[in-house]
């Protein structure tokens, strides 16, 4: 429909409006066509995790390089796969029978992009290649729930069901006893915080080799602890669990949390 007013639209805008296809739904944002004039599409041969998007980079560096050693992170697939194998261990067996799962080793449970995303912290490359915050958020919820359940299963002192005469004599009549409520005295905020403190999780992550593959940028390369390496490692542990949950379901993630995180930390 030709517009009645003539001065508000320039010729190029008018042609663009006329040639606009029936407006794409918002879900189709991924499938934009790029015209020949626009050259900022990322090189197709490089996966997304490997390169920072070219349109987000300056063509040349304006400021001088800072006077500190350059922080390098792993960019090889092999160490990453080994870390996933050692992290997941046998917990991948819960994924048997799912479509698209050939082997249950840790490295085969996740696609390549997700594997790299899960170990990429927000400080890496200024967040341009994505980061694992959302995965860590979900993973932490899973780990916290499994911790509570493991604390409930921990051995307790007082019985809940009284069968012998001696137990009945010592029973406290003011407490409602039920077999389902066994272990509730183990579940306190203090015990949970003790189990899941970031420093313990960081040491566990180091034992799996996460510190060798995590992609981040410390504030000071010579003082990693002061730069928060423990936080980043705990964050990464959570995000691996979250990635397993989103990719392989809650059973795999819960089993990994139980067997590979809580059991080494002392909870069955």
């Amino acid at each position: 429909m030709p517009p009645a007013r003539t001065s508000s639209l320039c010729a190029s805008c008018a042609t663009a409006l006329h040639s606009q296809a029936p407006s794409t739904s918002h879900a189709g944002l991924r499938t934009f066509t790029t015209t020949a004039a626009h050259q900022s599409a990322p090189a197709q041969d490089q996966p997304r995790w490997k390169q920072t998007p070219p349109a987000m980079k300056m063509a040349f560096r304006l400021r001088p390089r800072p006077n500190q050693p350059e922080w390098k992170v792993n960019d090889q697939q092999a160490p990453l796969d080994e870390m996933y194998d050692s992290f997941v261990g046998h917990a991948g067996e819960a994924a048997k029978g799912q479509t698209g799962v050939e082997s249950i080793k840790g490295r085969d449970l996740l696609p390549e992009e997700v594997k790299w995303l899960a170990i990429t912290h927000k400080s890496f490359d200024h967040g341009r290649r994505g980061f694992n915050d959302r995965l860590a958020f979900l993973g932490k919820r899973i780990v916290y729930l499994q911790t509570s359940l493991a604390l409930l299963r921990s051995p307790t002192a007082a019985p809940q069901v009284f069968t012998t005469k001696k137990e009945r004599k010592n029973e406290n009549m003011n407490i409602f006893h039920h077999p389902a409520l066994a272990g509730t005295e183990n579940l306190t905020a203090f015990s949970k915080a003790q189990v899941l403190s970031p420093s313990r999780l960081a040491r566990l992550a180091q034992s799996y080799g996460v510190d060798r593959v995590v992609r981040w940028k410390p504030k000071k390369a010579e003082n990693l602890k002061g730069s928060g390496v423990e936080t980043v490692l705990a964050h990464t542990v959570y995000s691996i669990i979250g990635a397993l949950a989103m990719q392989r379901g809650g059973e795999v993630a819960a089993r990994t949390a139980r067997e590979r995180i809580l059991q080494p930390l002392g909870l069955r």
Partner: protein, 478 residues
Amino acid sequence: MKRVRLDRWASQLQPPRNPRLQVQRCALSHETTTLPRRRDLHQQRQYITQTQWQCQRQPVSSKRKASTAAVLQEAGNEGESEASKLPSRNKKSTTPLYAPSHHTAARSAKLAALHARLSLPPKLPLQTLARCLVDPSADPRSDYNNAPFAILGQDLLGYHTTEHLTCHYPRLPMSVLFAAQYAFVGEATLASVRAEWGVEVVAAPGVEVDAGLLQLKRQVPGNSMVEGTGRRVKDMPGVRALGARLGGGRRNAEWNYRRGVSSRVVFDDEFGDLIGGEPYAGAQLSTSASEDGGAVDVEGGDGTTSSLPTLPQSPDDTEATTVSDASASFVRAVAGALYLHVGAAATRTFHRDHILSRQLDLHTMFNFTHPTRDLSRLCAREGFEPPVARLISETGRLSRTPVFVVGVYSGDNLLGEAAGASLNEGRVRAAAAALRSWYLYSPSKGEIVVPSEVEGMAAAGKGKEWKPQVIDVGEIVT
């Protein structure tokens, strides 16, 4: 005039005998407790002990023996003699009560009505529901209050909410995700859930109140006057004592430390709020709490308190809480108790019925400072053509109330469109609309399977097949 019949008066004042009232001690035990007429003493004792875990025997002190069950209870002399010996038997049994005993739970009309109103499964006993109503400020002992249930329930509700949000809106920014989590299962929401359920709150906790009321030690309002002075509580210096910090490990008080969004995932709670209860980073704490905080900081950011904090033993020592905090603990405790007694499926149903049924307008929870810049970075990252704002239509340019409809295009594709009172406003609003449409992307309903649907035995029974969910790289860092 008729003669007054005092003997008839007395009988009419007694409540009518209803034999059914005494038969089922525990209104919701799924085993019938109608005891048979004849049992010898030994069998009685065994049966009583076995049903004890379902419903505690009540020391029957009333004169009403309307049913055979009551008679047998009385005849079981151990019951009565134990009841009379209760205070002196064992020092463990003489623990004081600060809230209504669970023996009264089966007799509480409010509690039974609440159980029925929420359609809770019969496997959840009234006694546990009564325990869910006792806040730790009313009774600090963890065997009597709802603290363990509340911790478990918070984990469950938080997990189900997070997986719902992450699977339905895979591109939500972290700050919006925290806010949405709070909107679904935060204190304020759960407090209104409690009010909607019709649970009333006591003025002060005690043993004599009904078991169906929420028991807590209420905080003195900040606006109330302090005795002996003319000042309000909130204006008194250094009065507020906050709870012990548990492994927060935050170095917020340091001058060169800034608390960002990413670190909240590890350190803070599921809503991104500080765990220590500080209203904001660096808030003025009372002396004891700040000393603890200082000691932790000096240790170099390890964060965990190595020693067990001294626990209060009676309600006189406990911290007072607000009604909304106690309400939230109660709702969480119900979820936790459901998991313990009934199972994971019941908790999922509870979450779906009471939490996910609430409407939340996510599109109102965004706050952009530079939407045009963020949209430009987003298009650069995704490899789209740079966004260009174009005027679609306008009216009233020279009048007092112009309207400009501006669309933001990437090539020929319209990303977002909005109206504004000026050209610039239209452009900025259109960019914000485009960003919102990106971040609020939701996969089609047939593709969404939440992780907990394939967890545990539910997967084997229902046969729900897992589909990998959309994992987004992350939001644009502003």
